[in-house]
C-alpha cells in the first residue's frame, strides 16, 4: 500500500513484517524513531512473539542479538554513529560466528567534534567487519532492502547492515509502497538456523582456532561474501517479480549508455545527482551516474563493467580515510585497474553539510573541463580560507586551544544545525 510516511516509521513497519523474534534497542540519534516505533509495535501486538530488549549500550544490543541469533531466532537492532563504533568488537564477532543478524544503520558522522548529522563515516569505519553493507538511496529502497537483507542474511548465514542516511532519509516523509504481511511471508521464509544452541544436540560455538586453520576459516568468510555477490542479484530479481519494483542488487546504473563522465555515489545523494545528470544531459554533456547499493562485498566486476566505457569517474563520498584519501574511490580505482580512465575522489556532505545541485554542477563542470586535479583528494565546498586562517592563528600562541571552537567563532555561527 502506498502511503506518505516518515522513513523511520516505514522501516519499522518493514522490520515488523519480517517478524524478528528478538529486537535489542538502545537510543541514538538519528536512529531512535525506528526503535521507538518497534517498541510500540511490540506493545500493541502488531509485532507478535517478539522480545524487545532495552539494553544498556549498543555493545549490549549487538551482544544480545548474537545470543538470540545463536539460540536460533531472527534478531534485529538499529544504531548510528558512535553506537556502531561502540559495537565494533561485537560486529566482528557476529560475522565471525556467521550469525545472520540484520541491523539498520542511520548513517551519522563520528566525533570529535561531536556531530549528530549525516555522513558515512560510521559504516565506512566498519566496512571490513565482515558484514554485508547495503545502502539505500530513498525510503522506498530502505524498506525493500530490509526485506532482502533478512533473506540474504539467512540464506548465507552472514550478518547484514542496511545503511540509510540519518535525518535525510530517517526523518524524511516520503511516499513509500509498503508490502502486505502475506507478500513478505511469501518472500521471506521461516528462519532455519545453520547452528543453534539446543540441549537436544549440544554444540560448542565460538571456541578458539589457532594458526593451523585460522586462515582457512577467515577465507571461508571471504568466500561467503563473494557468494553474496551472486545471491544478491538473485534475491533482487525475485523481489522484482513479486513486488514489481527494481530494488536492491549490487549497483544501479543511471544513463550510462554513452557517458564519458560517471558519478559514483552511495545513499540519498544519488537522487540529487540524478537530477544534476538530467540537467547536464539537457545541455548535451555525456554524463551518467552509478549508484553502489552493495558496498560490502565489493562488486568489483559489476563496477568495472559499468565504468569501462567512461573516460572520467567522479566518486562523491560522504567519508574519507584521514591522511589517505577516498574510501569508495580506492575501491573504484581497484575495480577499474588498467582501464584508460581517470578517477577523482571527492569528499562531500560531511557532518550534515548539504550536497546541493549547485555545488554538484560546479564540481562536474570542472571535471568535464578537466580542471580538477585527479592526483589530489578534493573536498566539495571546502572553506580553505577558514582552514588557513586557523592554521595561522594556531601558530601564533603557545596554547592555541581547540581548533573547532575558534573556527566556529571565525565564521560567526553557532553549531546548531539550524538552516543557514
Amino acid at each position: 500500500m502506498r502511503s506518505q510516511v516518515e522513513g523511520s516509521q516505514a522501516v519499522a513497519r518493514a522490520v515488523t513484517l519480517c517478524r524478528p523474534q528478538v529486537v535489542a534497542a538502545y537510543p541514538i540519534s538519528p536512529q531512535t524513531h525506528i526503535v521507538e516505533s518497534l517498541s510500540d509495535r511490540v506493545r500493541t501486538g502488531e509485532l507478535a512473539d517478539c522480545e524487545y530488549l532495552l539494553v544498556e549500550s549498543e555493545f549490549g544490543a549487538m551482544s544480545a542479538c548474537i545470543g538470540a541469533s545463536a539460540a536460533g531466532v531472527r534478531s534485529y537492532t538499529a544504531t548510528s554513529s558512535q553506537g556502531l563504533l561502540f559495537m565494533a568488537e561485537a560486529l566482528f564477532n557476529a560475522s565471525g560466528l556467521g550469525l545472520p543478524v540484520v541491523m539498520t544503520v542511520a548513517n551519522r558522522a563520528i566525533g570529535a567534534p561531536i556531530n549528530i548529522w549525516n555522513d558515512h563515516s560510521d559504516t565506512m569505519a566498519m566496512r571490513d567487519c565482515g558484514w554485508v553493507q547495503l545502502f539505500a538511496e530513498s525510503n522506498q529502497r530502505a524498506v525493500d532492502l530490509h526485506l532482502q537483507a533478512f533473506r540474504l542474511a539467512e540464506s548465507l548465514s552472514v550478518p547484514v547492515m542496511v545503511c540509510m542516511d540519518g535525518f535525510v532519509l530517517t526523518h524524511a516523509v516520503e511516499e513509500v509502497d509498503l508490502p502486505t504481511q502475506d507478500e513478505v511471508d511469501a518472500f521471506l521464509p521461516r528462519f532455519l538456523p545453520q547452528q543453534q544452541l539446543d540441549p537436544e544436540e549440544p554444540v560448542t560455538i565460538g571456541a578458539m582456532v589457532g594458526p593451523e586453520a585460522f586462515t582457512e576459516v577467515k577465507y571461508l568468510m571471504h568466500a561467503k561474501q563473494l557468494a553474496a555477490l551472486d545471491e544478491i542479484p538473485v534475491i533482487a530479481a525475485e523481489f522484482r517479480s513479486r513486488f514489481g519494483r527494481d530494488s536492491g542488487g549490487l549497483v544501479r546504473p543511471y544513463r550510462l549508455e554513452d557517458a564519458e563522465t560517471v558519478v559514483v555515489a552511495l545513499g540519498s545523494v544519488l537522487g540529487t545527482i540524478e537530477d544534476v545528470v538530467d540537467e547536464m544531459r539537457e545541455l548535451g554533456v555525456a554524463i551518467g551516474a552509478l549508484g553502489i547499493t552493495c558496498f560490502r562485498p565489493w562488486p568489483a566486476a559489476e563496477v568495472r563493467d559499468a565504468l569501462h566505457r567512461a573516460a572520467r569517474v567522479v566518486v562523491v563520498e560522504r567519508a574519507f580515510a584521514v591522511g589517505a584519501g577516498g574510501i569508495v574511490g580506492q575501491n573504484v580505482r581497484d575495480a577499474t585497474r588498467g582501464l584508460p580512465l581517470v578517477v577523482h575522489d571527492v569528499v562531500a556532505g560531511l557532518g550534515g553539510r548539504a550536497v546541493t545541485r549547485a555545488s554538484l554542477h560546479r564540481l562536474l563542470e570542472d571535471v568535464v573541463a578537466d580542471r580538477l586535479d585527479p592526483a589530489r583528494l578534493h573536498f566539495l565546498d571546502l572553506d580553505i580560507a577558514l582552514v588557513e586562517r586557523e592554521l595561522t592563528r594556531a601558530r601564533g600562541g603557545r596554547r592555541p586551544g581547540p581548533h573547532a571552537e575558534s573556527m566556529l567563532r571565525e565564521i560567526g555561527t553557532v553549531a546548531s544545525g539550524a538552516y543557514d
Binding site: 506518505q4 542516511d165 539550524a418 538552516y419
Partner: protein, 193 residues
C-alpha cells in the same frame, strides 16, 4: 516542483506542518516530500522544515535553498535567522503575526514580491480561538493553501484530522478553515482596492 520552507521554533510544529502539507499533497495524487533540519531537540530553538510537491517522483534530498513559498511561524525569528534567503521574486510569503508586515519592518522586502503573494495571518490568535492553545501550525497551512492553491483546504483538513483524531483534530481543522477564509478575504480586499 513547488518547494516550501517553514521557519519556526522547537515546539511550534514546523516539522509536523511540513509533514501534513506533504500528506495533503499525496492525498491529491501528487508526489511530495517533507523533511526537517534537525538540531538537538530543544524547545524554542530555531527549526526549519521543508516540503516539496511535484507531479513527478521527487529524487532530490537537498534542503530547499530557493523556496517557492515561505512560512514564518514566529516573527521573532526575523531578527535571528535569514528567513528570506533564496525566496524567489514571485514566491509566496505567509507570516504569522497580528501586526502588519509594515509594523514588522518588512515593507522593503514586501515591495520586491508580488503583492497578492504575501499575507500576514494572526495564526496564533486564530489557534487560540479554535483550539484554545497558541499553536499556529494548522492555520498557517490553511493560509498557505488559500494563498498558493497548491493543495485544497479539504486535503489540508483531512490530513490534520487523520493525524490528530478527535477534538484536537477538529479544533485544528477549524483553525485552518478560519485562516483560509482570512486569507481569501484579505486577498479580495487587495484586489478590490
Amino acid at each position: 516542483m513547488f518547494a516550501v520552507r517553514i521557519h519556526g521554533r522547537g515546539g511550534q510544529g514546523a516539522v509536523t506542518a511540513a509533514e501534513l502539507l506533504s500528506v495533503a499533497a499525496f492525498d491529491e495524487g501528487l508526489h511530495a516530500q517533507a523533511f526537517p533540519t534537525f538540531g538537538s531537540e530543544r524547545t524554542g530553538a530555531p527549526v526549519v522544515s521543508f516540503c516539496r510537491i511535484d507531479t513527478r517522483p521527487i529524487r532530490s534530498h537537498e534542503p530547499v535553498a530557493e523556496p517557492d513559498a515561505l512560512v514564518v511561524q514566529d516573527p521573532t525569528l526575523l531578527h535571528q535567522v535569514d528567513v528570506f534567503a533564496g525566496l524567489k521574486p514571485d514566491g509566496f510569503l505567509v507570516v504569522n503575526t497580528s501586526a502588519t508586515l509594515d509594523q514588522l519592518g518588512l515593507a522593503e522586502l514586501v515591495e520586491t514580491l508580488t503583492p497578492e503573494h504575501v499575507v500576514a495571518v494572526p495564526a496564533t490568535d486564530i489557534a487560540r480561538e479554535h483550539l484554545g492553545r497558541p499553536l499556529p501550525n494548522a492555520p498557517l497551512l490553511g493560509a498557505l493553501a488559500a494563498l498558493t492553491g497548491q493543495v485544497s483546504l479539504s486535503s489540508v483538513t483531512d490530513a490534520i484530522r487523520d493525524r490528530f483524531p478527535g477534538q484536537v483534530g477538529e479544533g485544528n481543522a477549524h483553525a485552518a478553515e478560519a485562516a483560509y477564509e482570512h486569507v481569501l478575504t484579505t486577498m479580495r480586499r487587495l484586489t478590490d482596492a
